[in-house]
């Protein structure tokens, strides 16, 4: 060590005069001086080394960490964030686990470009069927992709109690999720039961991990994508569209109902109204006819015979004045003779024919 030091000093001397040639006198003088200070130098070095050794006990605990100090390997104390001091190696050592950070583990899938903070996105991840497929309580198979978020609750337990805390969390998560899914029916897992399954899995996981004294707190178990296995997914989708079809059929029928019933009501109203119109018209016509008859009758009563004659003649005139009416007047004798054979068909049909005269 001594030799090293001298050498170092020599080098330093050399560096002090980087320009021109080294001055041997000066060098010699310095060397002598150095020799004289040899003993205090030793102590100084030791002092520095001791100082450095003592300084190595300073450590800083970040806000997201705690300091766990071990003395001769045994747990001694936990320190909060900020600067701290421990007796330097080999007496004490410190570990600073990150206790506020929430860790995330994926099951049944792996995020592509897996960042711990990335969220689940379909197509952006790769499925791991052997992890995701599990048996349900009604002997069906369902594919469950989920994540577990956890944080360190007890740094001491986390560091010292379990050989592989992360592996243990994975084991517990798989065992718990499968146990809970095994208790549920496939339809619950696919639809309404998710929330309950998540919280039951979280509780069971926490129970298992507490049993191992891992010092881990499960923050959340979140099912990301729960779907029937690929082999049967089409059939499941068809059920959904069948359900849609069902309501479509019903809607169509209701549309039909809503279409024809108002039409029928309109038709019914028309029929009734027509009948009422008929009634109104009929009654009014009767009243009119009656009134007319009564009016004529009033006058007739005053001079029945002459009125009757007048009406008769007027009517006959009216009838016979029709140019299309053929008139044939026969005497009684002629009629009597011709009755057995009256060739009506051969009689001229022209309207202008003069009446036959006897």
């Amino acid at each position: 060590m001594n030799w090293d030091w001298e050498k170092l000093q020599k080098q330093r001397q050399g560096q002090h005069s980087p320009g021109g040639p080294p001055n041997f006198d000066d060098l010699q003088q310095q060397f002598e001086k150095f020799k004289r200070f040899k003993a205090p130098g030793w102590q100084f070095i030791i002092l520095i080394l001791v100082g450095l050794w003592l300084l190595s006990g300073i450590y800083i605990v970040d806000p997201d960490e705690v300091g766990v100090v071990k003395r001769f390997g045994a747990f001694d104390r936990v320190t909060a964030s900020g600067p701290h001091y421990h007796i330097p190696y080999p007496v004490e050592s410190v570990l600073t686990p990150k206790v506020t950070q929430i860790q995330r583990v994926e099951f049944g899938f792996r995020s592509v470009g897996s960042s711990r903070l990335s969220t689940f996105q379909q197509g952006q991840s790769r499925e791991v069927p052997e992890e995701s497929q599990m048996l349900t309580g009604d002997e069906n198979i369902v594919s469950v992709q989920f994540i577990v978020q956890y944080m360190i609750k007890d740094a001491k337990d986390f560091l010292f109690n379990v050989y592989d805390p992360t592996g243990t969390i994975k084991h517990a998560a798989e065992a718990a999720m499968r146990e809970i899914i095994g208790k549920n029916k496939i339809d619950d897992a696919l639809t309404t039961g998710k929330q309950r399954i998540q919280s039951e899995t979280r509780d069971l996981m926490q129970f298992i991990l507490n049993n191992y004294k891992t010092g881990v707190q499960i923050v959340a178990v979140q099912m990301q994508n729960v779907h029937p296995p690929e082999q049967v997914v089409e059939a499941f989708k068809d059920v959904a569209s069948a359900r849609e079809d069902k309501s479509r059929f019903i809607n169509e029928a209701e549309a039909y109902q809503r279409d024809i019933l108002p039409k029928a009501r309109g038709e019914a109203a028309r029929i009734v109204n027509e009948a009422q119109a008929y009634k109104g018209a009929k009654v009014r016509k009767a009243q009119g006819d009656a009134n007319r008859f009564l009016a004529v009758y009033e006058e007739y009563r005053k001079a029945p015979s002459i009125t009757k004659k007048r009406l008769y003649l007027e009517t006959m005139e009216n009838i016979l004045s029709d140019p299309a009416a053929e008139k044939l007047i026969l005497s009684d004798d002629a009629l009597r003779k011709s009755v057995p054979y009256l060739p009506l068909e051969k009689l001229p049909r022209a309207g202008k024919t003069a009446p036959a005269k006897q």
Binding site: E139, A172, E174, V272, K282, D322
Partner: protein, 283 residues
């Protein structure tokens, strides 16, 4: 003076050497056993902290004090209902008695080999008594508890304590899984059919009801129409009768005239004799 310095230095060096050889630390994650020429000293393992031993004749063996893993290979098991399943289990264990552990299995690998034997056979025994659905769902916890208990008893002589034996995965071999997929498919197809038929059923009912209502509505309307018409006819008849009854003869006369006028229109051929009252004066 120089000699004494050297002597002191040598003494310090020797002292340091002896000290470092006689002191040892055990980490929080470890436990240790001190052996004196191969024979264990004391009947208890040493916990974490600073400890002393006699150099040269005593040596220290370290053991993990943490809970350790044993992740078993998936095991194909036949259930009582003659179904096959692959059961993947894991065990959590720790070294309870390092001396026994050291004597019987020595290393963690040795312990895991023992655990493998025990868990494997116990799993077969335990699961062979249950049906698949009991293993998966109904009696899982019960089975695991019994499994843990039995394994714990059997592994205890090795200085090992089992905390938990847990069934992780229960998978079906591919051919059984295919059968299940087939069944699932059939179930869903049945369900889909049911939905569609239910839809058609409901639709047919709604349509039929609508048709029925329409028919009844129209029939009602027609009925009402006939009633109204009848009432109209009746009223008209009454009105006629009231008026005409004043002089049925005159009515008959006038009505006959009107009927002649209407009935004898257009190219009617009249063959008359002069006896007709109309031609009275013609003669």
């Amino acid at each position: 003076m120089k000699k004494t310095t050297i002597a002191i230095a040598v003494a310090i060096l020797l002292g340091a050497l002896v000290l470092t050889q006689s002191m040892f630390t055990v980490d929080e994650t470890e436990q240790a056993l001190v052996l004196q020429l191969g024979r264990p000293v004391g009947d208890k393992a040493l916990g974490p902290g600073l400890h002393f031993k006699i150099p040269l004749i005593q040596n220290v063996v370290y053991f993990d004090a943490r809970i350790l893993d044993f992740d078993a290979q998936p095991e194909e098991i036949t259930t009582t209902d003659k179904k096959y399943m692959n059961v993947d289990s894991y065990s959590k264990w720790l070294i309870r008695d390092p001396l026994k552990f050291y004597q019987k299995v020595r290393t963690i690998q040795g312990a895991q080999a023992r655990l493998d034997d025990i868990v494997r056979s116990q799993l077969r025994v335990a699961l062979g008594r249950y049906t698949l659905i009991e293993v998966v769902s109904l009696k899982r916890k019960e089975i695991m508890d019994a499994l843990t208990e039995r394994t714990r008893e059997l592994i205890e002589p090795y200085g090992i304590d089992v905390i938990d034996v847990r069934i992780k995965r229960t998978d079906l071999p591919p051919e059984n899984a295919r059968a299940i997929f087939g069944r699932m498919k059939a179930e869903r197809e049945r369900q889909a059919k049911q939905y569609r038929s239910e839809g058609r059923e409901a639709a047919a009912k709604i349509k039929a009801t609508a048709d029925k209502e329409r028919t009844i509505l129209l029939a009602d309307a027609k009925k009402q129409a006939e009633i109204v018409k009848g009432a109209g006819d009746a009223e008209a008849t009454k009105v006629y009768a009231n008026a005409l009854s004043k002089s049925p003869d005159f009515y008959e006369f006038t009505r006959s005239l009107e009927a002649y006028r209407n009935g004898l229109k257009n190219s009617t051929r009249f063959i008359m004799t002069p006896d007709v009252p109309f031609l009275k004066h013609f003669r």
